[in-house]
């Protein structure tokens, strides 16, 4: 067979999805026979794990700890510090901000998303640059900025009570900051959990030393002072962390005439309207959702690698069933699907505000359609797996939450009457008693007669107890 030159794949974006795509390709095509990959990243530093940035703030990781693996194969090249400026889909060419260009056979847009700043006076200068003390928490530069601003013992305000805001708040509190958190909607994590759960969660945050202000709109940021709310109160803050949502980086695609809405529109093959241009991760918009979470982005990277290397041309991305798992030390919160399912669902709810626990499980046609689990760490993982797999729930739904099955029927009488004592050698209590009646008085005798205790030894205590009981009733040794 003739040797073909490897096809050229250009990836725009060296974040969690772009870097993972390169890794997935290297795994499928380690020799680079099929494709060569060039990853272009706007940031100067090597790819890193954005999800763990709150952990860097909290001191769990150093910035170096969260760097992503770089495939050690000659067919993958990474160019950092280079941003794509233009895309010409007719010539299949990407122009970079250093004036160079890259030609591609297939293009993968993994440009991610950026923090959205709400229109609050004082937040940003007229050119859009953040005001002094204001930062997002999207990238390593944000993290460094915040690291310099957030001195232990000092006050800090987090604007936006979604998942990232809550994780950032908890990380800053662990760092020793006095944290206030402001959420403009009626309750925190409004998109993932219901109001009763949010109330208990807010109490837990308060107990951990943070103040939570739900349904409060920020009026203005006063550098050096703090954040003024719509009711006139001022929350002290050396820094303001804006975690009020993101917007996809879609400009490159939009300028090239590719259809975008809030993200770059892709079908189940993750292709845009241009079959040679693909998108994955936070910049992509798929009918099945999934933007904003890393797991769907990673699944998309794997599907694209399957397709573009020809390993599995039939691979498709059919959408995500995302499970939200809050990463906040001391809090176990898992949420998925509909937090407020309607009456067509069968819902089990357990609320224990005093114990700081809440569980809600909604089921339709034996499948989980939504769950909110706060302080139910053990069942949460089982429920998340069933939701993820679309697997049927057990008949006893309360037991699924509490781990306590409904009482079963009495065990069979004969099993109860003659239980197995030594499983390794299938010796029952009756067998032991027979041996005792035949004169076995010590554990050695019993082992000799029945083999009990000679396997794993786990029954030794039980055998000793039975023997001492029988020996006590009949102190005279049998002849």
């Amino acid at each position: 067979m003739a040797q073909h030159p490897a096809r050229r794949i250009v990836v725009i974006g060296n974040g969690m999805v772009g870097a993972r795509f390169a890794e997935e390709v290297a795994r499928r095509d380690p020799a680079g026979d099929r494709v060569g990959v060039t990853v272009v990243g706007a940031e100067d530093e090597p790819a890193y794990n954005r999800v763990l940035l709150p952990g860097v703030l909290a001191g769990d990781y150093t910035p170096d700890d969260i760097r992503l693996p770089v495939p050690q194969v000659p067919s993958v090249a990474v160019r950092t510090g280079a941003a794509a400026r233009g895309l010409d889909t007719a010539r299949r060419r990407v122009t970079l901000d250093d004036g160079t260009h890259l030609d591609y056979d297939d293009l993968v847009l993994a440009t991610g998303a950026r923090a959205a700043f709400p229109p609050i006076p004082g937040l940003a200068a007229s050119d859009g640059a953040p005001a002094p003390g204001v930062t997002a928490l999207r990238d390593a530069a944000d993290c460094r900025r915040l690291d310099a601003l957030a001195r232990p013992g000092g006050p800090v305000v987090v604007l936006g009570g979604g998942v990232l805001g809550l994780e950032a708040a908890r990380a800053l509190a662990r760092r020793g900051m006095r944290v206030s958190l402001v959420e403009s909607s009626p309750w925190i994590m409004r998109r993932q959990i219901d109001r009763p759960a949010a109330r208990i969660l807010a109490e837990q945050y308060s107990a951990l030393g943070m103040s939570v202000h739900s349904w409060r709109v920020a009026a203005r940021w006063i550098p050096g002072t703090g954040l003024e709310l719509d009711d006139g109160r001022v929350l002290a803050g050396d820094a303001l962390v804006v975690t009020a949502g993101v917007e996809g980086n879609t400009e490159l695609a939009a300028d090239a005439g590719i259809e975008t809405e809030h993200g770059v529109c892709v079908d189940d093959t993750l292709a845009t309207a241009d079959p040679r241009v693909h998108a994955a991760g936070d910049c992509a918009q798929h009918r099945g959702g999934g933007a904003g979470l890393v797991q769907p982005g990673w699944e998309q990277a794997a599907v694209l690698a399957d397709r573009l290397t020809g390993t599995r041309p039939e691979a498709r991305y059919s959408g995500a069933r995302p499970v939200t798992r809050l990463k906040a030390a001391g809090i176990e919160l898992t949420a998925m699907g509909e937090a407020e399912a309607d009456d067509t669902a069968e819902t089990v709810t357990i609320a224990d505000p005093h114990g700081g626990r809440y569980a809600k499980l909604s089921v339709r046609r034996e499948r989980i359609v939504g769950a909110v689990l706060l302080g139910f760490a053990e069942p949460a993982s089982d429920i998340a797996q069933m939701y993820d797999d679309g697997a049927p729930v057990p008949a006893d739904r309360l037991a699924l939450l509490t781990g306590r099955p409904a009482p079963e029927a009495e065990p069979q009488a004969e099993a109860a009457a003659d239980p197995t004592v030594c499983r390794c050698n299938a010796v029952t209590r009756q067998d032991l008693e027979t041996a005792w009646l035949d004169g076995s008085r010590t554990r050695t005798d019993i082992a000799e007669a029945t083999r009990a205790t000679t396997g794993c030894g786990g029954c030794t205590r039980d055998v000793d107890a039975l023997l001492s009981g029988w020996n006590a009733t009949s102190p005279v040794a049998a002849t």
Binding site: G55, R67, A380, A384, C424, A426, R451, C456, G458
Partner: protein, 701 residues
């Protein structure tokens, strides 16, 4: 009659004595030994029954028409026939048209002579063995990390002094009960999708049971490393002084923070942290792996992920801590060292290494160029039988692939397509029953030899009894065939001691060096752990000063989690996983013929969660048809309310339409060529009828 030997079954190789029972029949009794400490499991207690079983084959059996019955014949006729057919096959189709399939149950001497027989008497590269289905992933990962593979590089009794022991995919409470005697003091962390007896023991004694989704063990190991690091539990001095490659390994583990690990494995994040804490704060800790983590198409990387965890915590090469794999078959360790593996020469040498070839060729008195190169791995070999470029004849010792190979129906079809199948066995196993020639061979208590147990400890098997009249030893069979194939008799000794002496010379200077092993030293009770290069003491604890790589350091492997080759879908919505029962061994060819063991578990069963059974319309005790993309197995429903609702479990000791391996996936590990025994996607259906085939074919056809 009262002579000490060791059990015929697993790698624990419990010491036993064979005595005359009340009826004069031989009976096994436990003997004191550091490994079994006077214990035996049910299989050991009943093992002597097969020595005088009416189901034993004691005459060579031959048939020229495979649809016909076997006829008894004499040894000369049988051996002449086999040798003539093998020679004709080789003359017509080349040396590689003849294959050899060995076993991790064979003694060191047999393993060695079988490899020599294949390479010299047959000149074939086509030799592999059932240990490929057992230890290959652990071996590959161990070699990669430490530069050598001795399953447990420390004596088993060391475990008793540990604070914490993690068991990944191992169930010794059922598969090696006397081993549990060493695990009563440590806190146990058991990793198993199933609430196994070992998992239950851990929970009952203050330990942990982590139940990952089948096929996600690697993610769990990476997650434990991640959690240990963020809790500041790593031994950074050890990592710096004694290892290489941590940074690259960490980059992959960095993607498995506890919540992400939970999402992939289903093990709650707080349990991941708790397990990391238990293991990382222990002064003396061990990480042990078993087949549950290893028998996957990602088995090598999964074991590497567990070894990475052990290295990061500074365990291997320290007195009172370490990593080990729990070898399965009786001589699963020695059997993987002396050349019955497709890519290997004696002394754990590589067959493509010119220096290794030169040394072994010199020992054998041949030119290195006469030695064939590497052959196919076990499944690839079985799958090639009777095909265009695959072997047309096979000699089989100590194995029953018709039951034990993955995708067993496909393998049975391949076995059927052979022009010649010759099986050496002492009972009519399912594979023997498919053969053209069955050669009756001696059993464990009827012949001398050495075994290397799961610790790398050399053991002496003794001939307690004479074999029945008409039965020969495997060594005698190989020697007689070699002579008939034109080899000098001196090149194929049939006395175990002579073979051991030659094995010592052939292995000298290799990784597994047996040069100093002699029957006398073993008879005198010396504890010999390999390497034993000379008359000085062996090596009970390896790596205390340095690892076996040239730089003396252990290597982290940059591994990630890839997941199972096959995932459940709408047609096959459940995971099936397989394993051993307390009362049976491997393909069941031996244990299904022992009355007490057969009576206890006579039929296949499938463990299911009651809800899972109910959804398929199946109640306790019903016969179910378990169906995968490769085939179906019949099994009776057994409810387990502690089972995962997405996973069913089948023991693999049953044959025919009850064989669990009818279901299993032959997707192979890229490094070890281990098949994916432990994860298949299946569905449950009510069976139309109960199985009809007898579980144990008998002699006479």
């Amino acid at each position: 009659m009262n002579t000490r030997t060791h059990c015929p079954y697993c790698a624990l190789q419990c010491a036993m004595s064979i005595e005359s029972g009340p009826d004069g029949a031989p009976t096994a009794r436990p003997a004191d030994f550091p490994t079994n400490r006077g214990g035996l499991c049910r299989k050991g207690w009943t093992s002597a029954e097969l020595l005088h079983s009416p189901q034993r084959i004691t005459r060579p059996l031959l048939r020229t028409d495979r649809s016909g019955a076997f006829a008894e014949t004499d040894w000369d006729t049988a051996l002449d026939h086999v040798a003539a057919r093998l020679a004709a096959m080789r003359a017509e189709h080349g040396a590689d048209s003849v294959a050899v399939f060995g076993s991790g149950g064979l003694t060191n001497e047999k393993s060695y002579l079988l490899g020599k027989f294949a390479r010299l008497a047959l000149g074939t590269s086509q030799i592999d063995y059932n240990g490929r289905f057992c230890m290959s992933s652990a071996a590959a990962a161990g070699n990669r990390a430490f530069g050598i593979d001795r399953g447990m590089p420390f004596p088993l009794p060391d475990l008793a002094a540990a604070d914490t022991v993690l068991l990944a995919g191992a169930n010794p409470a059922e598969t090696m009960p006397p081993m549990m005697g060493h695990l009563t003091a440590p806190r146990l962390i058991v990793v198993d999708p199933r609430r196994s007896a070992t998992a239950q023991y851990a929970l009952d004694h203050g330990g942990l049971h982590l139940a990952p989704r089948p096929g996600t063990d690697a993610a769990l190991a990476l997650g434990l490393l991640h959690a240990a690091r963020t809790a500041d539990l790593l031994d950074t001095d050890y990592i710096a002084a004694r290892t290489t490659g941590f940074d690259d390994a960490w980059r992959h583990a960095a993607a498995f923070w506890p919540e992400q690990t939970e999402q992939v494995t289903g093990v709650p994040a707080h349990r991941v942290r708790e397990a990391a804490h238990l293991l990382g704060t222990a002064a003396r800790a061990y990480v042990l792996t078993g087949r549950g983590s290893e028998q996957h198409a990602t088995g090598t990387d999964t074991v590497s992920a567990w070894i990475n965890l052990a290295l990061a915590l500074g365990l291997p090469g320290r007195d009172g801590a370490g990593y080990g794999c729990i070898t399965g078959q009786g001589n699963g360790q020695g059997g993987r060292e002396h050349g019955q593996k497709a890519d290997q020469l004696p002394g754990y040498r590589k067959i493509d290494d010119p220096a290794a070839r030169a040394h072994v060729a010199d020992t054998w008195g041949v030119d290195p160029d006469e030695l064939p190169g590497p052959g196919r791995s076990a499944f690839e070999l079985l799958d090639s039988l009777g095909t265009g470029d695959g072997p047309g004849a096979m000699l089989l010792l100590g194995s029953n692939p018709a039951v034990s190979a993955p995708s067993a129906e496909r393998v049975r079809n391949r076995l059927q397509s052979l022009d010649l199948l010759v099986t050496c066995d002492f009972v009519m196993s399912e594979t023997a029953a498919m053969s053209d020639v069955v050669l009756p061979v001696a059993q464990w208590a009827e012949e001398e030899g050495t075994m290397t147990n799961l610790e790398g400890r050399l053991l002496r098997r003794r001939a307690v009894l004479d074999p029945p009249e008409g039965v020969r030893t495997d060594l005698q069979v190989l020697s007689a065939l070699a002579v008939r194939l034109g080899q000098p008799a001196a090149r194929f000794p049939d006395r175990p001691d002579a073979v051991l002496a030659e094995l010592g010379r052939a292995s000298a200077g290799g990784g597994a060096d047996y040069a100093g092993v002699t029957p006398q030293r073993l008879d005198e009770g010396e504890e010999l752990f390999w390497p034993v290069p000379g008359p000085e003491a062996g090596t009970p604890r390896m790596f205390l000063d340095s690892f076996a790589h040239p730089d003396g350091r252990a290597r982290f492997a940059p591994v990630s989690h890839r997941g199972a080759a096959e995932r459940p879908d709408a047609d096959y919505p459940l995971y099936a996983t397989t394993g051993r029962l307390m009362g049976h061994y491997q393909s069941g060819a031996q244990t299904r013929r022992i009355a007490e063991l057969d009576a206890a578990e006579p039929r296949a069963y499938v463990e299911v969660h009651p809800d899972t059974g109910a959804r398929a319309g199946l109640a306790e005790g019903d016969w179910a048809r378990v169906v995968s993309r490769r085939g179906a197995a019949l099994a009776r429903i057994r409810h387990r309310s502690d089972a995962r609702t997405d996973t069913v479990f089948l023991p693999f000791h049953f044959a025919g339409d009850q064989a669990a391996n009818n279901l299993t996936n032959p997707a192979l590990d890229p490094t070890s060529r281990m098949p994916e025994f432990k994860v298949s996607a299946v569905r449950l259906e009510p069976a139309d009828t109960a199985p009809t085939a007898p579980t144990a074919p008998t002699a006479g056809g």
